[in-house]
């Protein structure tokens, strides 16, 4: 085995070792901070190895047989290392490393045992995510896909004593499962049609036009459903905002930078297969653009800083999906990477703000710039990147996405995405102005976060700038031949959003209440999340609870009824038979004597 395979394996193995160590060795886990140090050390090694892999540009593939069968294994496990997974490895390990360091300070008030549990889950998550990224076939990808879902469930429900957190965890689990059902059905159908799970085999066949599978469109649509659930696409996006009940570093890692992008990664990874079914691709683009716009409008009326960021994540995931659907998956993937950086930055900064202000509600913060300048500066950097201001990282990837969608002649999705860009700038600067520059609110003494939290923030902020500058200088690999008016347009949209937010929330030139009144139906609908949450809750109550009630009724009155009747019969029979047992020896002798007599009579009759 060459170093080309060993290094990625090392990246994958370190978090697993840390997980097993923490899971098995109870005393180590219960040290809390000690467990954190172990986990961080492991992920640091992983990160360095991932950097080396990325730097060397290793391209390697190695699989081992897993499920044996006649004529070669049915399924394999292994690693597939190419530029796509290289970049993803670096992103996942980098953000995980920073998040885990940040968590040491953020969760400093936790008791030791839960803290150890937290780091155990974190290690498991990083391992699962890396396994997903390195998967050489659908089956391994699905297994790790489910594992990250499990970790997401565990970490959203980290504070499981809080009913809201427990509910959110279950909701996230179930709703992503809805998509996963489609995913696994699609994988199995594809396997039964082609006989392989391996990406390499599938791509070769796809390239050679030898993938003569009837209903390929349906199969790919089912596989896409998995991405809809995981990457929070309409209509399965409702779990992501609720997932904010988890600790903020978890939101930054899982629900912004890594796990939720697994769907986009999967679509990008299997792009040669999706390319065969243009109708599904078009659907992906439309759904992505619609998701982007829908989530952006909801973000505009949200008052909870983490939820704003969550809707923003949904919205940006829609961007990536739209790019993938438009055939510009490199642009989508670039946006995935840059978004991973600055969204993690924004979440971690928001965590610092929440930590200092003791509330999630932006309207109860205000004037925090003076109290926590570091956090404010990095938050603004993240906001500028998300709004798409050059030369920050977000600008180039966003422009690439818009260019890709335009190139694909998807006019309506393009318009939706452009409008989303405007709204993105608006709602992000709304948060910035209200939180950091507005009038300071009385009560509480917000303070700057400790260095353990500020360090990761600065690293991410500097990376956001550096990556942006590198993209500006090097052009980036995903620079499409976009029309010349695109860059001014996207900057213009960002500027318009900025000005709008400034006028409404800083200058006070436009009264937000009057705008809301003018757009009353939209405002009403967005505030109620377009009724989708209510719809799911209703469906859940109506169908699942109704069905449970029906089953419960059948169980109680039908199944139990039969059993009750049987027991009653047995009891009654026993009760009446009991009377035969008089307890008097003479009665028994009567029985014996008459029995014998009867036997003699019978024997006599028989003989005849």
């Amino acid at each position: 085995m060459t170093a080309d395979v060993l290094l990625p394996l090392l990246v994958l193995a370190m978090p697993f070792v840390s997980f097993v160590l923490l899971a098995v060795v109870g005393p180590l886990r219960r040290t809390g901070r000690g467990a954190g140090v172990v986990s961080i050390a492991a992920i640091a090694v992983s990160f360095v190895a991932a950097l080396v892999v990325w730097d060397r540009g290793i391209v390697a593939a190695r699989t081992w047989g897993w499920i044996p069968a006649d004529g070669g294994p049915i399924a394999t496990v292994g690693v597939l290392v190419d530029p796509l997974s290289n970049a993803m490895l670096v992103l996942v390990t980098l953000v995980s490393l920073l998040v885990q360091i940040y968590s040491l300070a953020y969760l400093a008030d936790e008791r030791r045992a839960p803290l150890g549990r937290y780091y155990t889950y974190q290690s498991l998550f990083v391992f699962s995510m890396l396994g997903l990224v390195l998967a050489p076939g659908f089956l391994q990808m699905f297994i790790f896909w489910e594992l990250v879902g499990l970790c997401s469930y565990l970490l959203i429900g980290f504070w499981y004593e809080r009913p809201a957190a427990a509910r959110a965890a279950v909701k996230a689990f179930w709703i992503t499962k809805l998509g996963d059902v489609g995913f696994i059905v699609g994988i199995v159908l594809l396997w039964s049609a082609t006989g392989t799970f391996e990406f390499d085999d599938l791509f070769e066949k796809a390239q050679a036009n030898a993938l003569a599978v009837p209903d390929l469109a349906a199969i790919m649509f089912l596989i896409y459903l998995g991405a809809v659930g995981k990457s929070a696409q309409f209509p399965l996006h409702v779990w992501l905002p609720d997932a904010m009940e988890g600790p903020t570093p978890v939101s930054a890692l899982i629900h912004a930078a890594t796990m939720v992008t697994a769907g986009v990664y999967m679509v990008t990874r299997t792009e040669p297969l999706f390319a065969l079914v243009p109708e599904v691709l078009t659907l992906i683009a439309w759904v992505g653009a619609f998701t982007a716009l829908l989530a952006a409008t909801m973000a505009c009326v949200e008052g909870d800083i983490k939820r704003v960021l969550a809707y923003s994540t949904v919205s940006q995931l829609g961007y990536m999906m739209a790019a993938a659907g438009a055939g510009a998956s490199p642009a989508g993937f670039l946006h995935l990477l840059t978004h991973g950086l600055f969204k993690a930055l924004l979440f971690l900064a928001a965590g610092a703000v929440i930590h200092a202000a003791g509330t999630n509600d932006i309207f109860r913060m205000g004037g925090l710039f003076r109290a926590m300048p570091h956090t404010a500066i990095v938050f603004v950097v993240g906001t500028l990147a998300l709004a798409g201001v050059p030369p920050l990282a977000g600008f180039f990837s966003k422009e690439a996405v818009l260019g890709g969608v335009w190139e694909a002649h998807l006019a309506v999705p393009f318009l939706m995405l452009a409008l989303t860009a405007l709204l993105t700038a608006f709602y992000m600067f709304r948060v910035v102005f209200v939180t950091f520059f507005g009038r300071a609110h009385a009560g509480g003494h917000p303070h700057e976060a400790p260095w353990l939290m500020r360090g990761p923030l600065w690293v991410l902020a500097i990376l956001t700038v550096v990556v942006g500058i590198r993209l500006a200088l090097g052009g980036g690999e995903a620079h499409e031949e976009a029309p010349a008016w695109l860059a001014p347009l996207s900057v213009g949209l960002a500027a318009a959003g900025f000005v709008l937010a400034w006028a409404m929330y800083q200058r006070g030139a436009i009264d937000p209440a009057r705008v809301a009144a003018a757009l009353a139906p939209l405002d009403y609908a967005a505030r109620r999340r377009y009724g989708l949450d209510a719809l799911y809750a209703g469906l859940y109550r109506g169908i699942i609870l109704g069905f449970s009630r029906l089953i419960g009724w059948i169980d109680r009155y039908f199944v139990d009824g039969i059993l009750n009747a049987l027991t009653a019969l047995t009891l009654r029979a026993g009760d009446s038979l009991r009377r035969m047992q008089s307890g008097r020896a003479q009665d028994y002798v009567y029985g014996v004597a008459f029995g014998m007599l009867l036997l003699f009579v019978c024997a006599q009759l028989w003989r005849r």
Binding site: R584, A585, V589
Partner: protein, 100 residues
């Protein structure tokens, strides 16, 4: 000579009388006497068959039966006395602790 069947009829009569006593006597001692009669009916059968077949096995068996019957009566009476000490009665109808 009196035939075998006469002995058997006598034994059956004695047995039936004994059984009747066992079934109807209310006193535990009376029941024991009934059992004695039934066992002696058996003895009559043994002796009759021994005589009929002309061998000694039936006679020897009878001796055993008699001695065992003596032991049985001793044990039975001891039980009756023990019951009387506890319950102050030997009425069979009232000894129904095993009633279901």
């Amino acid at each position: 000579m009196i035939g075998l069947s006469s002995y058997l009829v006598l034994a059956a009569l004695v047995f039936s009388i004994g059984l009747f006593g066992v079934l109807t006597r209310r006193n535990a001692v009376g029941i024991l006497l009934g059992i004695e009669l039934m066992l002696n009916a058996v003895n009559i059968n043994f002796v009759a068959f021994a005589r009929y077949n002309g061998d000694l096995i039936g006679l020897i068996f009878t001796l055993f039966t008699i001695s065992i019957t003596v032991a049985e009566v001793a044990v039975g009476l001891a039980i009756v006395i023990a019951i009387f000490r506890v319950r102050r009665t030997v009425e069979a109808d009232r000894l129904d602790l095993l009633r279901g």
